[in-house]
């Protein structure tokens, strides 16, 4: 890789050991993906919950902070694993909370802004078209690439941190025009009508795409989706397919027409009702007792909090069914001011701030609370939690609330 004078100095340790580690790390990645040089980035976003980090990861970050590391660009964080105001009731331990506290202290020492959100594109500072960024969280990356037209690879925590320190990232993958062209073409028979359906459609496309290096272009969407709808669509696609970018003809900014992304001659894959039904089928559980209803993955926007509050008003969850809602601190403040938090809590829901359910020791809190059958409207979260010992099921937001009220899965057979 070609390095400029500043990068050579970083690698030689002239800007401290943390920068030297960061650049060496980036060169290893750049070599594997044939990067020719580095590209400056305007922001970094780091996923790093204590379950993923473990003691070793926290100690690693503490060493960097102890070496005097300072980020050189605005750097923010993905959801935390422990809501320090509400961890004991979930069954999280002091050891988990201590790891979280140590990590937060190390990040703050390095100048990282603890935003603790996976919806920064709705709440903090969305990237602009053509903006090179180093974002973690697959949902953040796919939204930023596809909807905003920014340029980011999936940057895992270590690489996002390296980018925050050096202010750049290896120029490979989605930083290059040639990797942003469509490689698969999908024609959708029916435009989804709610958040869950958008997620299921994203999951169906992601499952067929199946690789980081595939770029789906989608036709047949008949209206402009809301930010929340396309958020669930992208998050599920990234979760099922490790897919970091999609185009929707006539909607996303790089794709006024399929020809703009070189997709005209690609064979068309049809996504009909059968494909959607097949994907949903394993997540059906009508009539079964439900232990916990979860709204998360991604964190809820203010609009989603308002929708949820409306559904909760004047109702109560069953005593046998818990309900967890995850949002960001930025949204929480507004949601509290507007009475949404009170309405959700009045229903018996717990609103967690700055965390996301699957990132907060999901196995341990499931065991501590006896949660097995989990219901959500997030196609992403039901994909993840099977490996954590849950029996996840999928339903619309309306049916999730009805299920929490009844203590059993209510599924009115929504189809896309």
């Amino acid at each position: 890789m070609k390095l400029d004078d500043e990068e050579q100095a970083m690698l030689a340790g002239e800007m401290g050991p943390a920068c030297a580690w960061a650049l060496d790390h980036q060169i290893q990645i750049g070599r594997m993906f044939d990067a020719e040089d580095m590209v400056p980035v305007s922001q970094a976003h780091m996923m790093a919950d204590p379950e993923s980090l473990g003691e070793a990861g926290v100690a690693f970050v503490e060493r960097l902070a102890g070496d005097g590391a300072q980020v050189s660009i605005p750097m923010i964080t993905d959801p935390r694993g422990v809501d320090l105001e509400h961890y004991r009731p979930l069954g999280q331990t002091e050891e988990m909370a201590d790891l979280e506290r140590r990590f937060i202290a190390a990040c703050q020492a390095m100048g990282i802004m603890m935003t603790n959100t996976c919806i920064n594109y709705q709440t903090i500072m969305p990237p602009v078209f053509g903006d090179h960024v180093a974002y973690g969280d697959t949902g953040v990356v796919i939204y930023s690439n596809s909807v905003c037209g920014a340029r980011s690879n999936f940057e895992g925590g270590p690489s996002a941190l390296a980018a925050g320190l050096t202010g750049r990232t290896p120029r490979y993958g989605l930083h290059l025009d040639r990797h942003r062209r469509a490689t698969m073409r999908f024609i959708v028979d029916q435009t989804p009508s709610d958040l869950m359906e958008w997620g299921v459609l994203g999951a169906a496309i992601g499952r067929q795409a199946g690789s980081y290096w595939q770029v789906p272009v989608i036709e047949g969407i008949e209206r402009v989706p809301t930010s929340d709808e396309i958020k669930h669509f992208g998050a599920a696609m990234a979760s099922y397919g490790s897919t970091p970018l999609f185009h929707i003809a006539g909607i996303t900014p790089e794709c006024r027409t399929v020809a703009d992304v070189d997709g005209s001659d690609l064979p068309a894959h049809r996504i009909g009702v059968d494909e959607i039904t097949t994907l949903r089928q394993p997540f059906g559980a009508a009539g079964e007792d439900v232990d916990v209803v979860v709204f998360a993955a991604p964190q809820l926007s203010l609009v989603e909090m308002g929708q949820l509050a409306s559904l909760c008003a004047g109702r109560k969850r069953a005593s046998s069914t818990d309900m967890i809602v995850c949002t960001s601190a930025q949204v929480y403040a507004d949601a509290a001011a507007m009475g949404y938090v009170d309405a959700i809590q009045g229903f018996g829901g717990t609103v967690l701030t700055g965390t996301c359910f699957y990132q907060q020791y999901a196995r341990e809190i499931g065991e501590a609370n006896g949660w097995k059958r989990l219901l959500s409207n997030s196609a992403k979260i039901v994909n993840i939690l099977g490996g954590y010992g849950y029996a996840p099921a999928l339903a619309t937001m309306e049916d999730c609330i009805a299920s929490a009220e009844a203590g059993q899965v209510v599924d009115r057979g929504a189809g896309v």
Binding site: M32, G54, E155, G210, Y212, G387, Y388, G389
Partner: protein, 141 residues
Amino acid sequence: MSIELKCHVGIGLPVTGTALVADDNFSARYDLDRIKGVFSRPQHKLVGQSYRDVILVLNTAKGGVATAWMLHEMKTRDMAPKAILFNAANTILAQGAALAEMAMCDRFEDGDVTSLIQTGDEVHVDPAAGLVTILNRDGVG
């Protein structure tokens, strides 16, 4: 007696071990019980099998970014594969391998690595050379 498989230049130091192979994908968060060191996702083709100290051979990566930290965490507890070989790695797996100092290679010239290598094969992985050698066989199949 050996078979040499050429691949793209990878990450990490040379390592030798026994292969555990499946035509399936990989995420440390989605698929593993990292405390017990086994695949835990019921739908995964390796469910119930230990991944500790093996040369894991899979199709591609899936899902989220957590694997980048998790490989490092698993390695420090001595509860990790020796190497992971993919048909196509994603960025997260490569980043995780770099932090964990774990060998990782992908993009094999002779085709689908999950067919080229069989469970139980003795395999030597040399990421810098872009070369994987099956030590116990002299014919692919």
